[in-house]
Structure formats: C-alpha cells, structure tokens
C-alpha cells in the first residue's frame, strides 16, 4: 500500500508523546492551583503584618524572671487540680492550688513557657477561675470582705492565662459586692486587677490572638512540610485555601461584617466572637461593680 504522505516517525512515538502530555497535564493544573492559593495566602499574611496585628500569641518566648514565676505558680495550681470534679468540689478542698494562684496574681504574666502547655491546661485555668469565684462568695458570706475581694482579683487576673475563656463571673461579683464592704486597699487592688482586663477593644484583641494561633499553626505546618511527604504536597493548595477562608472570616468579623462564607467552623468562630463581645461588656460591668459604682448590668 502506497501512502501519499507516509508517516515520518513511528506511530508509537506519537502515542508516547500524547501519553506524556496527558500525564503532565494534571501537574500543570495542580501547580497553577498551588500558585494561586499560595499567592492568596501571602496577600492575607502581608495584610495582617501591615496592619500591625499580632502574628504570634506572644512577643517573646523567653519569659522574664517574674513572669516565669507566675507561669510556674499557675501550672503548679493546675497540677494540683488533677481529677477534680468541678461541679461538686469545694474551693477549700483545693486551698493549696488557690494559694499558688494568689501568689501569681500580682506577678506579670507573659504566657506559659514553651513546651509546657497542654490542652487541659486551659480547662484547669477556667476551673481555677470558678474556684476563685466560689471562694470569694464563701468569704463574703463569712464576713471576710477583704479576702472575698482578693479572691475576685485572683479570678480576674487568671483571665490573662486564657484570653478566650468566659465564666459566669458577673453573678459572683454581684453577690460579693452586695455582701462585702472591703477596706480601701483591698478594693483598690481588686479594681486594679479588673482595670487591667477592662479594655474597650479587648474582644478584638482576643480575636486577633486567636487568629495568631492559626498563624502559629500555619507556621508549624510550614516547618513540617519541609519534609517531603506526598500527601502534604498533594493537599497543600486545599489546606491553603481553607487557611485563606479562615483568615477572611477573621478579617470580616474584625471589620464588623458578616463572614463571606458559612460552614461549621465559621459558625463556631462567629459564636466565639459573640462570646468575646459579651465578655468585654461583662468585664466592663464587673470593673464598675468592684469599684463601688451602682451599675446595672445585663
């Protein structure tokens, strides 16, 4: 059989080229997606850095000497709470733990030392806050007004250890304030403790700190992704896409706008933002109450 235009190369050669192209095409698409998401993430991170918002949950990982003391006292108190049943336990059963909390109250707190934090530590701090409130009520009922206010100060200062924690402290403060009349010095100390945490933009500060946690998580992922892992590499654009979505949600909430998209994570973030705003109002109210003002708080 004679062809007018015989093939110049073997047909198998052309087939191999087509297969190679088809194999490489998904890599082109994946690479393009990877680049787009990386650029989007970079733009978000640049915007956060340019705004001056915190990129990390703390400024320095090296604690000053008094802050290191406070860190040790708080962790010692948490260690003494092991196995506590918060609903039934009485504060006097954990007097040793609360003594450590009291020792840390007047010290500066810069965070827990690196490598010492664990997931239950936050829960222990909230439990200690609740115990301090119960102890304040007990002392107020016994007529120990200065002790009751000191315990409220310890509860307020514990807020530093967990910027996202909310406790039903307002009711405790109301009860103590109505039952106890402390000395001027005891009241002044407690007012100082509440003044430290009563800031007009504390809700936004806490949300930005929460976003800094996400950035720290991203940083940790970035370090781990330097190890060649095929699944990390494959899903990297998707994980970046999710990170960009979260960062957009934070930005929207901080700008008092509705988040651009909704999912379960968005709902929990919106709920947290609502809780932080309520908490800011509650702390403001508590501050007025301990200062002796007759504020009516909701």
């Amino acid at each position: 059989m004679i062809h007018d235009k015989p093939p110049l190369v073997r047909p198998a050669f052309g087939r191999r080229a087509a297969v190679a192209f088809l194999v490489l095409l998904p890599f082109v698409v994946h690479g393009l997606w990877d680049l787009v998401e990386a650029r989007r993430l970079r733009a978000r991170i640049d915007a956060i850095a340019a705004s001056g918002a915190p990129m990390a949950t703390r400024r320095s990982w090296q604690l000053s000497a008094p802050a290191a003391e406070a860190d040790r006292y708080y962790r010692a108190a948490a260690a003494l709470l092991t196995g506590v049943r918060i609903k039934t336990a009485r504060p006097d059963e954990y007097a040793d733990a609360l003594a450590y909390v009291d020792r840390a109250t007047d010290l500066p707190f810069e965070g827990f030392a690196p490598g010492t934090s664990y997931s239950y530590l936050s829960g222990d701090m909230v439990s200690l806050m609740l115990f301090c409130e119960r102890r304040a009520i007990d002392r107020a009922e016994r007529g120990d007004a200065d002790g009751a206010f000191a315990s409220l100060a310890s509860a307020a200062r514990l807020t530093r250890t967990h910027p996202w924690a909310t406790t039903p402290r307002l009711e405790s403060v109301r009860r103590v304030v109505t039952q106890a009349t402390p000395s001027a010095a005891a009241r002044a100390r407690t007012v100082r403790a509440f003044a430290d945490i009563d800031r007009p933009n504390s809700a936004a500060e806490s949300l930005m700190l929460n976003r800094a946690l996400l950035l720290e998580q991203l940083s940790s992922d970035e370090v781990s992704s330097r190890r060649p892992r095929i699944d990390d590499w494959l899903w990297r654009p998707w994980t970046d896409h999710l990170a960009v979505r979260r960062l957009d949600e934070y930005a929207a909430l901080l700008a008092d706008q509705a988040p651009p998209s909704r999912d379960a994570m968005t709902d929990s973030l919106v709920a947290m933002w609502g809780g932080l705003q309520k908490r800011q109002a509650m702390i403001h109210c508590e501050h007025h109450l301990v200062a002796g003002a007759s504020t009516v708080c909701n």
């Binding site: 080229a17 490489l24 490598g115």
Partner: protein, 80 residues
C-alpha cells in the same frame, strides 16, 4: 592506478544519503509531537517553583516557633 585516480573513481559512485530536507522534516515532526508534553513539563516546573518561592516568603513572614530548649529545665523548676 594511483590513489588519486582511485579516489576520483569512487567519488563518481559515492552512495547518496538522505537529503538535508528529509532530516529537517523528521526533526520537525518529532518536535511537533513532543512539544505539548515539553511545554506542560516546563510549565508545571515553573508553576511549582513559583509556588515554592511564595511559600518560602510566607514561611519567613510567619512567626517562628520556639525551640523546645527554651522550656524550663528540671533544675530551674526547683524552688531556691
């Protein structure tokens, strides 16, 4: 017959190879068939390289995680 005469005689009957045109046509045909795959390869490599550069930048902007050696040592935990 001298060497020169022999060379001249062989020159008259030297076999003719494929022309330069055929070689060029063959080359063009091969290149044309592999061009899409080559472009895809180069494009993918460039895209991944650019994405990696962006990630290096992101890694530099993100907060550095603390070395675990900053954690208090057991002897430092003891009360003085």
């Amino acid at each position: 017959m001298t060497d020169a005469e022999l060379e001249a005689l062989l020159g008259r009957y030297r076999p003719v190879g494929p022309g330069t045109g055929l070689r060029r046509r063959l080359l063009v045909s091969r290149v044309t068939q592999w061009l899409p795959a080559a472009v895809a390869f180069v494009l993918a490599a460039l895209l991944y390289l650019s994405a990696s550069t962006q990630r290096l930048y992101i890694g530099a902007r993100l907060p550095a995680m603390p070395p675990i050696t900053l954690a208090p040592q057991p002897e430092a935990m003891q009360q003085p």
